[in-house]
Amino acid sequence: MSAAATSSSATTLPTQRFRLDQARRQRTVLTPEGIPLRFTLATRSARAGALLLDLFLVGAVMVATTIGLIYLAGGTAKAMGQASGAAGHALQFLFILWLAAMFLLRNAWFLFFELSPRGATPGKRASHIRIAARNGGRLTAEMVLARNLLRDIELFLPLSFLLSARDGDMGAAGIAAAGWFLIFGLFPCFNRDALRAGDIIAGTWVVEAPRRKLEQALSAARAAAPGAAGEYHFDAAALSHYGEYELQVLERVLRENRGDQLAAVYQRICGKIGWHAGAGDERAFLAAYYTQLRARLESGMRLGQRKADKFTGPSR
């Protein structure tokens, strides 16, 4: 109904493609209470971005730890220069600390964050995604563990084989091995749910974690404005042109509240319902039309008659 959505097929296409893509990533999961919850799977690019960010953070912490320990080691060596036995023990302790820190950073970083109430690593939080159980049940520690233990063959192994295959030391076998391990690495590209090998083993998937503010109700806000409620009245015929999709587009236009958009939509609706379009009061007109169209569509809904968009038949 907005100018972009209806004026020509050339501009409609991207919108439709967007809706299609959204629909393709929608999954419905039945919660234990029996409520179907709609999840949107995270895009592969969002996940790749989250992974890169996490790897960068892990690398940064590794470097910082190493530098910090080297600094400490230098200090210890200087302070205990005379008693070499004690210094040796202290240095050995620092070395063990370093090994343990590296091991934990490599293996426990993802575990620790995904087991916390936030259920997401810093990278995932930054790209607004998190993990969830595929069956709608509880996300257990075992699942988180399983999906992270497989990271080695998905990430580090393909990488190391790719690097060695490029050197050509192993010849054709190296290339074959690299290809074979790339299958694990590129696993998310080969299935509908974008599951990586670890997700399959664990029974999890990665979904978008949306956060929304509760917006003001449009119809209620408008009714509060004095004098606006009664000014426009549309009969059933004028309200029968549009369906739910157009109503939502209109809602979006009203919320965005941009003058040129309002005017364009106003012109189109007036043309459709055969009113003579004036100017200057577009917003009040559209708000009134929105409220009355919604009232009509919602009452149809309560009777089990829904009108998806303007192309489906008359709602009565």
Binding site: I96, L115, P117, M143, L145, A146, G203, S219
Partner: protein
């Protein structure tokens, strides 16, 4: 009568006024039915929103007990609001808000309940040993293959000593066929004065743990690579056994190996069996869909794997300290065998319900 009416009217007005400003009352009268639905429930939605937001920000401790108890109740209330709104409201913004809110609350209500610490307690208190018992067929298969691997390694070297170099390709190592008894004995004893034992142990652990995680992860390819890794390991072992046997040092080698070997080989056995368990679920999912079978197997196997990492810590300690400090075969065998008995007891005789610790 008239006085009563006025009184009642004013009281009603006062009540209304106390609940909401006069403007809101007007809205309630004028708005759509779906908006009234929203206005009646908005308080609950916002409260749930506030609670969930706090948990998401990691400020769980700042929540009052009252709020924490209210969370599941509010979650169900808002979830039912959502299912009603889906059928009666066309307010896209409100619907999207509710969908997102119910999802966020669901993540918290059905999120990981215990942190790493609580999980570890349950894991050690029975969860681990139960998972090990649950993969017993894979344990038996892997054990058989590992024994066969050691046997084959021995036989190959016995038939043709050049196999030894294939199985044990360590250059510059004095332990080669034809080496004298004294050389071999020196590699087993007399290292108790060495410095840097702890660092050596830590290095051994992080190396072995990474290898065993790899062996497990490779189970994803139907378990075959996991088994190959296990067999290759024990074939090397078989070759070494043959070498030391040829110089009549077999019991000493077994003592030297058993200090940490009973733990480490057990860990390798568990890792490969866990990998095989997953591979088997892929190849033979049984009555379940493949993905579901793999997910179940994965959860069991990953519990076993967490334990493998712990066992490797123990093994590295034993290898780094005990083996070097105990410089005789007798005590080494005692330590190794008692570790083996301990693990067997822990996995197969220690049956405690991990739920009891929940």
């Amino acid at each position: 009568m008239a006085l009563g009416d006025t009184l009642r009217g004013s009281r009603l007005g006062a009540l209304l006024g106390a609940r909401a400003p006069a403007g809101d009352a007007a809205i309630a009268a004028a708005a759509l039915r779906s908006d009234r639905f929203r206005q009646e429930r908005e308080g609950d939605w916002k409260r749930l929103d506030a609670i969930v937001t706090r948990i998401e920000q990691g400020r769980l401790r700042s929540l009052s007990d009252e709020d924490l108890l209210a969370l599941p109740v509010l979650y169900r209330t808002v979830a039912s609001s959502l299912s009603v709104a889906r059928e009666t409201s066309l307010d896209a913004a409100t619907l999207a808000y509710l969908e997102a809110l119910v999802q966020r609350a669901w993540f918290q209500v059905y999120g990981p309940r215990q942190g790493l610490g609580r999980w570890l307690l349950r894991f050690l208190g029975g969860g681990w040993s139960r998972a090990v018992r649950e993969i017993w067929p894979d344990l038996l298969i892997t054990l058989a293959l590992m024994v066969a691997g050691a046997f084959v390694g021995w036989k190959l070297c016995a038939a043709d000593p050049s196999w030894y170099f294939t199985l044990f390709p360590a250059e510059g190592d004095p332990r080669v066929p034809g080496a004298g008894q004294a050389v071999l004995r020196a590699s087993l004893f007399g290292q108790s004065q060495q410095n840097g034992l702890a660092a050596f142990a830590a290095y051994l652990f992080s190396h072995n743990a990474q290898i065993s995680i790899l062996a497990f992860a490779l189970g994803f390819a139907f378990g075959i690579p996991s088994l190959l890794l296990a067999i290759q390991n024990t074939a090397t072992l078989g070759a070494m056994l043959w070498l030391f046997h040829s110089q009549a040092l077999l019991p000493d080698l077994i003592g030297w190996l058993s200090v940490h070997g009973t733990t480490e080989l057990f860990a390798i056995l568990l890792a490969a069996a866990a990998g095989l368990h997953i591979g088997r679920a892929f190849a033979f999912p049984g009555d379940l869909p493949v993905l579901e079978a793999a997910a179940r197997a994965g959860r069991r196997a990953s519990t076993v794997m967490a334990g493998v990492v712990l066992m490797l810590v123990v093994a590295a300690m034993l290898e780094g300290f005990a083996r070097q400090l105990l410089d005789a075969t007798g005590p080494r065998l005692v330590v190794g065998l008692s570790m083996l008995v301990f693990w067997l007891w822990y996995f197969f005789a220690f049956r405690r319900d991990p739920g009891a610790l929940r």
